[in-house]
């Protein structure tokens, strides 16, 4: 019995160290398992990542707003509002800011993983989100110029960007 109680206390102590998350790490490498989780958390609580170096794989995506301004983003396809697999599909990621030219997005209109994949490192620029107003899509995938929707993305300052030749192990569509 003493052994059991000691074991119980030891387990509780261990869990209490990381029972509510892995938030103590300063830098984050987003893997296939943690991409969605960390990306949504960054959207929710960007302040706690401002000092962290982030590293992740994504594909480049050009978002053109209603004023014809184009934003190059690093994203993956996801479900609506960062998490619900019950809504409309959308993308999750960052607006990319880089001193160097970023690889051009390709095959953007096709709903598959044949995209320009990159490995990025860098930091969040700030906790402020950039709101990009785009024309909404109809159910058939065509653009509806009469309706707009707003995408809010954090800005990511790219420190390094490497092209990924073989993205076969990377998930185009991420869910929890």
């Amino acid at each position: 019995m003493k052994k059991f109680l000691s074991l119980l206390l030891a387990v509780l102590l261990c869990f209490s160290c990381f029972g509510c998350g892995k938030g103590k790490a300063k830098d984050y490498v987003l893997t296939e398992d943690t991409f969605f989780l960390l990306m949504t958390n960054m959207q929710y609580y960007p302040e706690q990542y401002l000092d962290s170096t982030l590293e992740f794989d994504c594909f480049t995506y050009a978002l053109t707003d209603v004023n014809d301004q184009t934003y190059i983003c690093g994203v993956r396809k996801s479900s609506s509002e960062y998490g619900c697999t019950c809504g409309r599909d959308t993308i999750i990621g960052f607006v990319l800011e880089s001193a160097e030219p970023l690889p051009e997005p390709r095959n953007q209109s096709a709903d598959n993983g044949d995209k320009t994949w990159v490995h990025l490192t860098g930091k969040l620029k700030s906790a402020e989100k950039t709101e990009i107003t785009i024309h909404a899509y109809r159910n058939d995938g065509t653009i509806d110029p009469d309706r707009n929707e707003v995408i809010s993305f954090l800005s990511f300052e790219v420190a390094s960007c490497d092209l990924i030749e073989d993205a076969s192990g990377l998930q185009y569509y991420v869910i929890k």
């Binding site: 059991f4 029972g19 989780l37 609580y45 019950c86 809504g87 929890k176």
Partner: protein, 207 residues
């Protein structure tokens, strides 16, 4: 020498002692049963105290388990991702007013539950049946905080989580199974209460 004195001193006293010993012997199963129920409760704590249930998936889309609520209350970290046994961070983003009390009640409920488990363990190993009453009190405390946790989880319905996170999808709903913790706790408490009553009755036989 002492044995001879006791045997020969008072037949009435000896009868009392035998009755007391018999009554105490009947108490043996109670701490064992309540201890097992508390162990079961540690597993039940993996059930969601708060979750988004989505019939489109179907199943639980995202959850905060009893252990997650406990550890979030213990560490005060409600915004870190990838918590063990749950994701308080997502719920906290949409419903912080509900998640803070949920974490507090989770902490208190499982602190009481663990204390009750330890008391029952001590009772089992030391045969200290006198601990039935404090164990019952701790169990009742844990049940009360579980009910409060259920109430806090239910208040998440007042937030905009279903509108924003689920895009008002009717397939989504906010659920909580914290009430099961309270119900099962009452089973453990009943055994502790019966044990306490029988213990005090057994003690009264000595008077």
């Amino acid at each position: 020498m002492a044995k001879n004195q006791s045997a020969g001193a008072a037949p009435g006293q000896s009868k009392k002692l035998r009755s007391h010993a018999a009554a105490m012997a009947k108490l043996t199963p109670f701490p064992r049963i309540s201890f097992i129920v508390y162990i079961i409760l540690c597993v039940v704590a993996l059930l969601p105290w708060l979750c988004i249930y989505n019939t489109d998936i179907p199943g639980i889309e995202i959850k905060v388990s009893g252990w997650n609520a406990f550890f979030c209350g213990l560490t005060g970290k409600l915004t870190t991702p990838g918590g063990i046994f749950g994701n308080m961070d997502t719920f906290n983003y949409f419903a912080p007013d509900a998640c803070k009390p949920l974490a507090l009640y989770g902490l208190l409920a499982y602190a009481f539950l663990i204390a009750a488990l330890i008391l029952n363990g001590v009772m089992l190993s030391k045969k200290a049946q006198v601990l039935h009453l404090p164990a019952a009190v701790l169990g009742i405390g844990a049940a009360i905080f579980s009910v409060l946790g259920f109430s806090a989880a239910d208040s998440v319905n007042n937030s905009n989580i279903l509108v924003e996170y689920c895009q008002s999808n009717p397939a989504c709903s906010v659920e909580s199974y914290a009430i099961f913790t309270a119900i099962i706790l009452l089973v453990a408490v009943i055994f502790n209460v019966i044990g306490a009553v029988k213990f005090f009755k057994a003690q009264s036989l000595l008077k």
